[in-house]
């Protein structure tokens, strides 16, 4: 395998609604910033890959317009996934592994604010048995939370503690959307949004984007003083029928964590794509993380959840802490689909 590292990152200040900019205008400054930080020139990228959703943009092939933010002349080698940017990174990593590229630009973005996001996300369900009922993302998450509480995986109090910890951690994150929280006991006094979920259990609706630069081997070492090496990366999916899944566990995370080598060394931090508070205990268990592992020091998606970018941002938050020398080994997780259906796990490490 070739050594591949994240050598530069950038992200937007995440907001509830970026009303006055379109997707191209949203992501262009972030792409400019990450290119400058990487030390590479605009034409030095062997591969470019992005992640976004036509359902959010409201039109087919919307990513083609966003290429205006990159510049595609002279012609570039480019691809796109209709998935979180973490999977765009995965595609770029594979491209570098095949030897067809030494450097790659990866970005993703989403404006979740137009339309009724929970209802839009109901279209991810099975088209025959589930989609005709129009269950929202919150409806399905609430069912999963109940199953997890009944199974003793978590409790409403533990979920309030996670909400409080995440949003107060985010106070140190200049890009976060929500950076304050009432005390957990006060949170427990709030009305239910969708029993057993309260508003604090749900990630906010967020507009934003993120970009990273990947480089292989000596190229990475020459451009970055402390590259964040991708030591393991794997993604797995559980079945799409909610009916047949045990929603209190995540078999796909367990397998991906094993393939990515999470347990091959100490985990200092984990950035997890927790769109709801109850996702954290399910993921901690499937990843085999001890209680001493710090989860979501950035605040995580509960503090800023730009659709299509929040998974790749998990990698950025771990990579930034490796670049700065704050940590030497961390785990990043990204998810897609309902109730943690599809999961990607990456292990990032610094050298020396």
């Amino acid at each position: 395998m070739r050594d591949v590292a994240i050598i530069a990152t950038a992200q937007t200040k995440h907001v509830r609604s970026a009303t006055t900019v379109n997707e191209v205008e949203l992501i262009q400054p972030v792409i400019q910033e990450v290119i400058e930080r990487s030390g590479l020139g605009r034409h030095d990228f062997d591969f470019t890959c992005s992640g976004s959703s036509d359902y959010l943009a409201g039109q087919p092939f919307s990513f083609v317009m966003t290429l205006d933010a990159v510049g595609a002349w002279p012609p570039i080698s480019e691809s796109h996934v209709e998935m979180d940017g973490a999977w765009a990174l995965y595609e770029a990593w594979v491209k570098i592994q095949t030897g067809h590229a030494d450097t790659a630009l990866v970005y993703s973005y989403g404006k979740s604010s137009p339309g009724d996001l929970p209802r839009v996300l109901s279209r991810m369900t099975d088209p025959y048995y589930e989609a005709p009922l129009w269950p929202t993302s919150v409806d399905i998450a609430a069912l999963q939370a109940r199953a997890a509480i009944q199974a003793g995986v978590t409790s409403e109090q533990a979920m309030a503690d996670i909400a409080y910890r995440s949003r107060t951690s985010a106070a140190a994150n200049p890009f976060a959307q929500l950076t304050t929280s009432a005390q957990p006991l006060a949170l427990m006094d709030e009305e239910y949004l969708a029993d057993p979920l309260r508003r604090h259990d749900c990630a906010p609706i967020t507009d934003g984007g993120v970009a990273i630069v990947l480089a292989a081997g000596d190229k990475a070492r020459s451009l970055c003083s402390r590259p964040a090496w991708i030591r393991g990366i794997d993604h797995r999916a559980d079945g799409h029928h909610l009916n047949f899944r045990d929603l209190t566990t995540s078999p796909s995370v367990r397998i991906a964590a094993e393939k990515a080598g999470v347990a091959n060394g100490p985990v200092e931090i984990a950035e997890l794509h927790t769109c709801f508070t109850h996702h954290e205990p399910i993921l901690r268990s499937a990843l085999g993380l001890g209680d001493d592992v710090e989860v979501n020091p950035s605040g995580g998606p509960l503090a800023a959840n730009p659709m299509m970018a929040a998974g790749l941002i998990r990698m950025v938050e771990v990579a930034n802490r490796i670049h700065s020398g704050e940590v030497s080994r961390g785990v990043a997780h990204a998810t897609g689909g309902h109730a943690l259906q599809h999961n990607l796990i990456a292990v990032l490490e610094g050298e020396g």
Binding site: Y128, P132, L133, P135, Q150, A194, D195, L197, N243
Partner: protein, 153 residues
């Protein structure tokens, strides 16, 4: 959402409606089609998997092994709530037009649950609640033929 494109005075931002559509027709095949046909007749069927477990609603392939499944079996119209959540903010297209519970209901004779609506007061919802299917009076062979589940009194 506004009905047509407008500009809001304060920020002079152009706003337009976002209409969510998925205008495709699908064929349902020998298994899902059989389930929907049974619904039209006011009854449920499931399908046996590799291990002899009954999956309801039925699917064409074993979710674990991928093996082709063909053995359709009848399943009861009453069952048990395995777990549930409360839907206070009902949206367009959902099974009922007033607050209801989403539930995973395991029908008698089935080994897997199906997600659907239970029409009961919030304080009546409890795991293990016995429920019975309520069918539409006019049925056409679609998921809409099953209106919801109701508590067995």
């Amino acid at each position: 959402m506004p009905e047509e494109a407008t500009t809001s005075g304060e920020e002079d931002v152009l706003r337009a409606p976002l209409v969510l559509e998925y205008p495709f027709k699908r064929t349902t095949g020998p298994v899902i089609g059989a389930f929907l046909t049974a619904l039209r007749e006011g009854r449920f069927i499931g399908i046996e998997d590799d291990q002899g477990k009954v999956l309801c609603p039925p699917v064409e392939y074993d979710p674990a092994s991928g093996a082709s499944l063909t053995k359709l079996v009848p399943v009861g119209s009453e069952g048990e709530v395995l777990f549930w959540s409360w839907n206070q903010s009902v949206r367009d297209g959902q099974p009922l037009d007033h607050p209801f519970a989403w539930a995973m209901v395991k029908l008698d004779g089935a080994d897997t649950p199906m997600m659907h609506a239970v029409d009961a007061p919030h304080d009546a919802m409890v795991t293990g609640l016995r429920v019975r299917a309520k069918f539409a009076e006019e049925r056409i062979g679609s998921m809409d033929d099953l209106l919801c589940f109701e508590p067995v009194s």
